[in-house]
Amino acid sequence: MRETAPRDRGTVAAARDAAPGDRVPPEWRPVRARSVVFRHDRVRGVDLLLLPERVVVLRGAAGSIVALCDGERDVTAIVAELARRHPEAPVDAEVPAFLDRLREEGWLR
């Protein structure tokens, strides 16, 4: 999928107030929960998480982050890999908080 992640003004405002993900331990090795199916949707051109009664649409680069959650890489390695791919992006500030939010939802362990 395309790596561009356009965002709207509302989301940018939210990003300013977001928690930096400080409470995410860097040695955590995130892995997708067993009941969650992660797949690409060719019809819509997006990545998805499929759960009972629920579909989560991973916009922009969200899918490429979830794809790195293989239980092998720790948070530090995931951030490093994404920083390499997107040197201009605020990876450090945003990725740990994103991963933490997915863990809260029960989609990552």
Partner: protein
């Protein structure tokens, strides 16, 4: 039917990260579980701030004004997310609240396993990513494993919607092997005797066993309880039952009055005081169980006098295929569409979804009349339920009579006022098998407890 109400069909679709304005697809239930994820976009590729909004409203049905009459083509609808596959109308239970139609399909009219595999392939190609394998009791199909495998092969997430009767260890193992992802189990009442009265059959032991097996297999377990006069006051015990059985989620679905349920409406309709008590219980248990178990509430539209955003809009998010291959925009639409309902045996699913009159008739807002046409809620509730408008007024294009703004609302108001009475539920009329199946051996024998 194992208790899946029409409004519960489509999945909740969460956009992640969120976007400005209304998301393109949202789930109908008025009270959903966890809120959509509100994290900022995780990683921006190139500098993101100047980009346009990610997602805009799906195109509405306005044709270009200058196009010559007769030559306009309807806009391409968004692809469907989910398919409700009603594999059979056969069922060991005879629930008073069953929303399947009065006229059930006979077993001999059912699509074959090959035909279902083809339907699932077509659905996946169309954009379907989830299927609910329901009925009736889908476990009555001896080829259920093959149907699950066919869905899994094309990347479609499968959930079995079952009474639990007939779900033995070996059967479940075969289904999991075939790719089954999740199970939703119907529950009629936490008390076995009262449950038997509602279901017209004893099944509580089978359900308890089924729940245990599902948990042991490591699959997510949901319970579905259709709520009405005889069980709304048992909500606390129902939630406790869900906890004891290890459910991840309980769908508390107030009865939708379609099909057979309409026949039992007087006995099922709750006292509004019961609903108020149940809501207080719901809020208390939700606060207590946050993060442990999800409690989904499907609102009682009669009592609330509020139209539900049925199916997230007609032909907008999901579709149903009935045992004999009839394709419907909503599981309750068979009676409304009659002979106009398309069939997957006669035409491709894509054509049915995109351009069949059955699916385009109430898509969007062009079909609406007053008071919906100028109502600010029309993009929220989509005019309510077409099947309910048809069932209560004989005209499917009228405003849903449950809406307090409907000119027909008196029809519903009178019934709700008459139900304002603490007396227990009256006697039910139980349903039987389809007429042509009545000479067969009793279905209970095939899947006895």
């Amino acid at each position: 039917m194992t208790g899946l109400p029409p409004v519960a069909g489509p999945p909740r679709v969460t956009e992640l990260p969120p976007v400005a304005g209304p998301p393109p697809v949202t789930e109908p239930p008025p009270v959903a579980g966890p809120p959509p994820v509100t994290e900022p976009p995780p990683v921006a590729g190139p500098p993101p701030v100047t980009e346009p909004p990610l997602v805009t409203e799906p195109p509405r049905t306005a044709a270009p004004e200058l196009a010559p009459p007769g030559l306009t083509t309807p806009p391409e609808p968004e692809p469907p997310w989910a398919l409700l596959a009603e594999l059979t109308h056969g069922c060991p239970l005879r629930c008073a609240y069953c929303s399947n139609p009065i006229e059930l399909n006979s077993r001999s009219a059912e699509l074959t396993g090959d035909e279902w595999a083809d339907v699932l392939r077509q659905a996946a190609g169309l954009g379907v990513v989830q299927t609910h394998l329901s009925g009736g009791e889908p476990l009555l199909r001896r080829d259920l494993e093959r149907i699950v495998a066919a869905a899994d092969e094309v990347g479609v997430h499968t959930q079995l919607v079952t009474s639990g009767v007939g779900l033995h260890e070996a059967r479940l193992a075969g289904l999991v092997e075939a790719g089954l992802r999740s199970v939703q189990l119907s529950v009629q009442h936490p008390d076995p005797d009262r449950a038997a009265l509602i279901a017209g059959a004893r099944a509580s032991r089978a359900k308890e066993r089924a729940a245990r097996l599902v948990r042991e297999a490591g699959l997510p377990l949901g319970l579905n309880a259709v709520l009405h006069r005889a069980n709304l006051d048992a909500l606390d015990a129902l939630v406790d039952l869900g906890l004891a059985w290890g459910a991840d989620r309980i769908e508390l679905a107030n009865t939708q009055f379609y099909g057979w349920a309409l026949r039992n409406r007087d006995a099922l309709l709750p006292d509004p005081e019961q609903v108020a008590r149940a809501r207080r219980t719901l809020e208390r248990r939700r606060a207590e169980l946050a993060g442990r178990m999800e409690l989904v509430w499907v609102a009682p539209d009669y009592v609330d006098a509020t139209a539900k955003p049925c199916m997230g809009g007609w032909g907008a998010i999901s579709l149903t295929v009935t045992p004999d291959g009839t394709a419907l925009p909503c599981p309750a639409a068979a009676e409304l569409l009659g002979a106009d309902a398309p069939n997957v045996r006669e035409q491709p699913l894509g054509r049915i979804w995109r351009s069949s009159p059955a699916f385009t008739r109430y898509r969007g807002e062009d079909w609406m009349r007053e008071p919906c046409r100028s109502c600010e809620l029309r993009s929220v509730d989509f005019g309510g339920c077409r099947c309910q408008a048809f069932a209560l007024t004989g005209d499917a294009a009228r405003t849903d009579p449950v809406c307090h703004r409907s000119p027909d609302h008196g029809l519903v108001r009178e019934l709700v006022e008459a139900a304002r009475d603490p007396a227990p539920a009256g006697a039910y009329v139980y349903r039987g098998p389809a007429p042509s199946d009545r000479t067969r051996a009793p279905q209970k024998a095939e899947v006895s407890e």
